[in-house]
Amino acid sequence: MNSSVLFGLSTVAYVLAMILYIAYLAFRQNQVGIIATVITMAGFVAQTFAILLRWKEFYEIGQMGILRAIPLTNLYESLIFFVWCLILAYLVVEFRYRNRSFGAFVTPIASLVLAFIDISGMSTNIQPLVPALQSNWLLVHVMMSFISYALFAISFSTGLMYLIVKTEKRNEPAYIFWTAAAGIFIIVLAAMGLDYMTFKLSVKNQEELIKSYLFRATFRNEAGFIAVVSYAIAAAFMYLVWRYGMVLKKIISGFDLSTETLDDITYKSIAMGFPIFTLGGLIFGAIWADQAWGKYWSWDPKETWSLITWFFYAFYLHSRLMRGWKGKKVAMVAVLGFVAVIFTYLGVNLLLSGLHSYGAQ
């Protein structure tokens, strides 16, 4: 059995788990919830073995020593590892807080990431390490960065849920904020999906697709009519989310999750993620950069964006100490923080150029 079969199995398991967790939310059947948990765990085990197998395969091809064969050297592998961390963190939360409802928010993120890998057609081949990545810092730097990203992803979903549950009126800033955030999130994903489908035949290279064809099928379409219609549809969708956001509130309020628990999970995952990110992402990154490039800090876009992310979460941690900032306002900061994480992780590699560009291969 090779790693790709196991990766396939875990993908199927996570998608199945997503459906079951949502069904569990809708019908409140305990058995459904238990099956969802079991399938998630099975997927997790399969994925763990898949990563270890790929590690072994990489080790045999690369001949670089076991530490440098960690499968974390391109976008595909890092996304897989991100999903792994996310599911692990979720399972920990499920067992600690004895609450399953939250799975309906996390498994879709995992499934979306895996679907993104599949439809974008990114290279899943094992590529030997380029000279810049041949360092033992690779293991700790990349691994810790992704563990913190996964923790931030958890804080994003609980932060968003907190806002959904806590908001009462449609004209309240926090309500507008979360409907806008959720709306834009879905619109961007949908537009990228359309880009992909429209340009699948004409564009060979995945990076090219994102760099020059982003939103070409919709908002940046050459036909002005389509662009206008796209904006109109997007606006209408945003309105719908805003108008019927309360439905989501009703569903989530039905869980046995108190707002205190949501706030607590948000804070705890950031309080864990922030030091891990600081140490693994920034400090170890700086030490490695010092060894490889002769500069521990060179204001490269990736470095700068990770600093921006760091400032967002530092802002979150400090704003909890400020009067009048507890609750909804800090939850908004947590949600925005994860937007910065997404940009640090994907946006920089796909849209900007710089020293960290090997991630986009």
């Binding site: 030997p128 000279p131 041949q134 140490l279 204001w299």
Partner: protein, 477 residues
């Protein structure tokens, strides 16, 4: 702050700098301006950034936008006066707010824990009550159990009751200040690097020596010694053109004497007297193929070998075999097209090959030998010509750096790691246990507080309760 007393202007400024609000504003401003700096390419040619701006502002407004951002220093923003000013504000905020809060926190940290009256205990966040039947022994049990969960309790009498109280990790409240201090240390290290160090580069062709490096803008920096590039080479994965390693063999010379030798690769630089040389790039010296030297090893059938240095056009002989080879042609990257015709596919030395004509008594043959393919080294007559190197045509590009501040930065990083650990993973835990004996039973009241991660401390308290109940039962049997 005392009321009634008029705040002076200095006090007001102090209050602004000591506020968390200012910190939040600075975080936001640094983050937002930095975003602009990552979209606009720093220190790039104007055309590049105008192309980027066209995407945002359209063809017609882009030059004006460029002018606007250029005026504001956004094209080299991390070195602009206003960005440095923001960092300065950030530091001042850190220093002032730490000085402002430290005395109060210090008092809290150093003041020993006191026994408290029941009224005070009632205000604690964690409370448990339990009753143990039977007289005596309860106090000792409490003391022993507290020790078992890691506390060293003191004892006092409060309202005729016996009270045990203890605290742990009171210094963890300083974690935040350690973290703040570490940021200042890192910035101090960065400043030291700017003033006492330099960042330069050096392109050194094979065989050449240099006693200077070049700063951006061309300014020469004397190294204080000489550095020579003996050789540069790229290793590839198998027969593919995927690079595995960029390697430069360097020699450090002082007054003509060799003092150090090292082969550097990416991630493994050479350091001599505080100056570090990093493998950063490489290239071909223009018009150099003509004077490049092919380094070959000719091995005869009977095993005699000899190293040969020859240029294109030169003739060499294989020892004891009576065969002469003449190097006719050189290609930096040779491949074969569909019709079997060789062609050069790259200007860089990716797959170097030599065309050699061999003549001997009664025989004549010729062919390409490749540096990377040792199977092409074998000649049809059983002799062998190994193609070891084509030397003297490439240069190694090195980043040259001196940074005495880097150790201060690393020290700051270590302090930060410690500070963050203390701040987020440790907490100041206090516990009071009141034991009152009445009517043949002991009433035990536990009050406790933790300034962070209360849930974990609550679990410890549950353990303590469990131990008291179990210990009591064990004692009465």
């Amino acid at each position: 702050m005392e009321t009634g007393k008029q705040k002076t202007f200095v006090d007001k400024i102090w209050d602004v700098f000591a506020s968390v609000k200012l910190a939040a504003v600075i975080f936001a401003v640094i983050a937002c301006t930095s975003m602009v700096g990552t979209v606009l390419e720093q220190n790039a040619e104007p055309a590049k950034n105008i192309r980027i701006l066209v995407k945002f502002f359209g063809e017609s407004a882009a030059p004006a936008a460029y002018e606007f951002f250029s005026r504001l220093g956004f094209l080299d923003m991390y070195h602009s006066w206003w960005f440095l000013f923001l960092l300065f504000l950030f530091c001042s905020n850190l220093i002032v707010c730490s000085i402002d809060r430290l005395p109060r926190i210090w008092k809290l940290v150093t003041a020993p824990i006191h026994p408290l009256t029941p009224d005070h205990l009632d205000k604690m966040s964690i409370k448990r009550t339990l009753t143990l039947k039977g007289k005596g022994g309860a106090a000792d049990l409490v003391a022993a159990s507290l020790k078992a969960i890691g506390f060293k309790p003191a004892e006092a009498e409060v309202d005729k009751d016996r009270q045990f109280y203890a605290e742990k990790g009171n210094y963890t409240r300083l974690g935040v200040y350690i973290t703040h201090l570490s940021i200042l240390v890192i910035i101090a290290g960065a400043i030291a690097g700017v003033f006492f160090g330099f960042n330069a580069f050096l392109n050194l062709p094979e065989g050449q020596t240099s006693s200077v490096a070049h700063k951006e803008g061309g300014k020469e920096i004397p190294l204080g010694f000489e550095i020579r590039c003996d050789n540069f080479d790229v290793e590839y994965y198998g027969e593919s053109d995927m690079p595995k390693a960029y390697k430069s063999w360097l020699t450090v010379l002082r007054n003509g004497q060799v003092v150090m030798q090292k082969a550097i690769v990416v991630n493994d630089p050479l350091t001599y007297e505080g100056i570090t040389f990093y493998q950063s790039s490489f290239g071909t010296v223009p018009d150099s193929a003509a004077h490049g030297i092919a380094i070959l090893r000719a091995v005869s059938r009977d095993g005699r070998s000899e190293e040969i240095h020859a240029r294109v056009g030169d003739t060499f002989s294989i020892p004891g075999a009576g065969i002469q080879g003449r190097i006719v042609n050189f290609s930096p990257a040779l491949s074969v097209d569909q019709n079997g015709r060789p062609f050069t596919y790259d200007e860089n030395m990716i797959n170097p090959a030599l065309f050699i004509e061999f003549t001997g008594p009664g025989q004549r043959f010729s062919g390409w030998i490749f540096k990377r393919l040792d199977r092409t080294w074998q000649l049809p007559d059983g002799n062998r010509v190994e193609f070891l190197n084509f030397w003297g045509v490439r240069y190694t590009g090195m980043q040259v750096r001196k940074d005495p501040g880097v150790w201060i930065v690393y020290l700051g990083c270590i302090i930060m790691a410690i500070g963050l650990y203390i701040t987020f993973f440790m907490s100041h835990r206090r516990i009071w246990v009141n034991v009152s004996e009445e009517k043949g039973q002991s009433k035990i009241f536990i009050a406790a507080s933790a300034h962070r991660n209360r849930a974990a401390f609550e679990r410890t308290i549950e353990k303590l309760v469990g131990m008291l109940v179990a210990g009591h039962k064990g004692g009465t049997k």
